[in-house]
Amino acid sequence: MADQQKFFEVIKSGTDIDFIGKQKYWIGASIILVLITVAMLPINAYVLGDRGHMLNWGVDFKGGSELVVEFAKPVDASDVRAAMTAAGLHNADVVRYGSQSETPSYMVRLGAVSVLSPEQAKKVEASLARIGDASLRKFESSEGGDKVYLRFDKAVEPTTLSAALKAAGTEAAQVQTFGPSQDNTYEVTLIGMEGEVRKALDAKLGAGVVKAIPQVSSVGAKAGKQLQVDGVRALLGAILLIVIYVAFRFDFRYGPGTIVALLHDAVITVGAFAVTYKEFSLTTLAALLTIIGFSMNDTIVVFDRIRENAAKYRDRKFDRVVNHAINETLSRTILTSATVFFVTLAMNIFGTGVIRDFAFAMNVGVIVGTYSSIFIASPILIWLNDKYLTMQKRQATKPERNVRKPVRRDEEEAVET
């Protein structure tokens, strides 16, 4: 066709940006981000006192408290959630409980509030070793961290125990016997979730809105050990199969780049959660899976073009082929990533709660996912290709093995041009 058709383009065709030439800066930036993530986890756990954990594990992973709240007047679930957030109890699950009636009941699940740090717990345990003539046989913190279970060999008055705890620097909201009386076990509630929740609701919805809180109990993690083990196993299995598939469809040189890129994206997204200390929940986990899928999709599209061009331009240097392929696919890379980014940005802006967390993870993940295909996966591919070629060259110099002379990049160039 004589008249060249005009298109609406963000990236003009024929654009040639040198991505690969500047790769060391990009890789350097990635290494810094990954290092920040790796450093941030222990910093969260040990240095920043108000954080206390590597990630802000949600009630899904860590367990917490469950309360049933009966209201004296009609109240909406969103109001209850807002009241919790206002009082600093983020990401509470608020669920309508029981049958629909004029005055609703809600079940509120809250993430654990750790009251005792491990050092504090040790101190308290030591100071409680002997009370009167009874000695402590067992000291155990609840999964939620807001309760402590003490077991003595002889009976102890709860009031004496309260006083002893106070002397050790820990205020107990409630001390009561636990289990059969001959067990001499006491449950010490360190923080009264009931009081906290009541206060939060009164402050937001007016005093007297709470009719009763008939149930307060600590609950375990939704994602138990088994689920976590299953999850890790599934991920490792998936990674292995992807390497095999990519090796089979492309070449073994293409596999590692894909995997490193997707791990890179997952790690940096986790890093974003470590730095912001946003809650890490099952939804975040789902977002991580999505990001991994997206990253893989992106890398495969770029690699596919590299493979195609590598066959077409056998006379060019491999890193130039890669750079050319990245430029050719740049338009689609930017369009796709921008589309997904803006859709998830909309979810981040207009959504609430878990949707927002999901969208936040996606926003971070889409950016690093796009970036990693170009700046992480491709350099690894080039590096592996170089290694492969030098290895072949070395083998070729051994006379007895020199069956067929492998084509070398520089030689090829010389011949064809």
């Binding site: 066709m1 058709q5 609406f8 065709s13 367990g63 679930a77 969103s78 959630r81 669920v95 309508r96 409980y97 029981g98 049958s99 077991r151 067990d183 109990s217 600590s218 375990g220 993690a221 939704k222 088994q226 299953d230 999850g231 599934a234 991920l235 998936a238 199969l241 992807i242 469809r249 099952l282 939804t283 986990l285 789902a286 899976l289 999505t290 899928g293 999709n297 992106d298 495969i300 599209v301 596919d304 050719e328 696919t329 689609r332 369009l335 796709t336 589309t339 997904v340 803006f342 859709v343 909309a346 979810m347 207009f350 959504g351 709660g353 878990v354 949707i355 999901f358 969208a359 996606m362």
Partner: protein, 594 residues
Amino acid sequence: MERSWWWKAALYGAAVTLAVLYLVPTFVTKEENLPAFFQKYFKKRIQLGLDLQGGLHLVYEVNIEKAVASKVDRLANDVDDALKKKGADTTVVRSGRDDVAVTFKVPSEMSKLDDELMKPFRRELDIVSRDAATGTVKMRFDPDRVAEIEDLSLRQAIETIRNRVDQFGVAEPTIIKKGTDIVVELPGAKAQDFERIKSIIGRTAQLEFKIVDDSSEYMKKVAAAVPKTGAITVAPESWTEKNSGAQHEDVYLRVKEKDREELTKFIAGLTADLAVPNDREIGLELMSSREVSEGTPDKYYRTYFLKKRAGVTGEYLADAQESWDEMGRPEVAFTMNRQGASMMEKLTGENVGRKMAVVLDERITSAPVIESKIGERGRITMGGYGDPFKLQQEVKDLVGVLRSGALPAPLKKSFETQVGATMGQDAIDKAKVSMGIGALAVILFMLIYYRFSGFIANLAMTLNMLFMMAILAAFEASLTLPGIAGLVLTIGMAVDSNIVIYERIREELRLGKSPRTAVDAGFQRAFWTVFDAHVTNFVAGIVLYSYGSGPIRGFAVTLLVGIVTNLITSVWISHWMFAVLVSRRGAVKTTLSI
């Protein structure tokens, strides 16, 4: 247009119609409003998960006392075995929850119970007293271990419940520990669906094999004490050993099904001389008599005088399957693992000619005569001539329950209520709005950037959503938040596939190809790119589905379905739609709106 285009049109049209039919029930909220046609053929719908719709909230109490008691029983048996190995004649009995009494027939043999023998039990059993005169050693279970068992039982129970619920394909239930209780939340709203799941969760599934003791005169003594006027009758039974020809005979008690309570009361009331010995118990089996009176077979309970100690338990079960007996009635066939098989061999080898009771949750299901050594295989008959369909279902459930393992302690449902969505209606509404805005932005972008081709892409993506939802409905899949994450990923991939293809077509056009060849070349070249990207994700999805559980699985389901429908819509269906654009009869177009 070519003939094949029309064929494809018919095929795609049929697929769309079918998809719409499958989706109608999902969008009709009330089942009653569904036309009869749908009630009959298209009843399945997409279930919403706990986070989006809520469901049933169940609280189970774990009977820790019972778990501790059975642990103490096991220890007592082990002590007994160790003593028997040393040649001592002892009876070991548990009383209360924690106490064990070992009685030596010859008091002087008491020295055999020394520190060496107690070594393996040191952490768990404390010796309380030794009475040389009566030859009785009293022990007590270490109270510090109780908490350990409590913890272990809870964890094991949660695991078992998860396995059982998973077998039903209930997507993403919540199973959590709450103090010493277990909370189970099941998504969905229809009460009748829950009944079967509830009965399966609560089933202990404790399988035991106990030897029937017919050699004592005890049952005859008891039979003599049976009141003449009551519902209880005494019946004799006798059988001959196949190989040795030795005679066995004993008596048993029987009552009609409705008079069960009278029999249990009578047994519980046996005292003094007639009291059931410490190491024995009386078990009941529901039997159907052969004589048919008034059309329905009579059912009655009969007694067995059993050794209390189970020779082998379901702990050693390797597998269970559905099977049928000679009469074609459904039953459960099971296989023991290696250890169980050798225990079974020993037990049956020592008791040839006697009866062995198969006890499931403290009810005898059958008590066949042991004719020869039994190894690893056995079966559980369901008993009775019930409704065959119901019987079949019972067998299926029992197989599932046996496979998932026994609960460490009986469960008691202590509370049940409906709960709302964990995400909250307000959050769901906002999510819908934000996703709507996102979708609108994508549609507008495609239209502006690719003009008429963008319209085709939007159509293809809409069809993708339609097919995806229809398949989810056909599978009765549950949609949860992680599932929606999978959906978002596939939509992202759908957008990407279209962009990859269109950019490719543009490249071909830039090379000066005619629209028609450019479209064909673009689709052909982009196909492998799109295909590889999809297959890599599909492979990952399969692994996530088969190894992952809960939310990971939910994510994988929508991902897998979405990848397949996306490949079909964005590659084949949109290529087919492009045919309209590039080839009109008569005139060859020179430009392409892309």
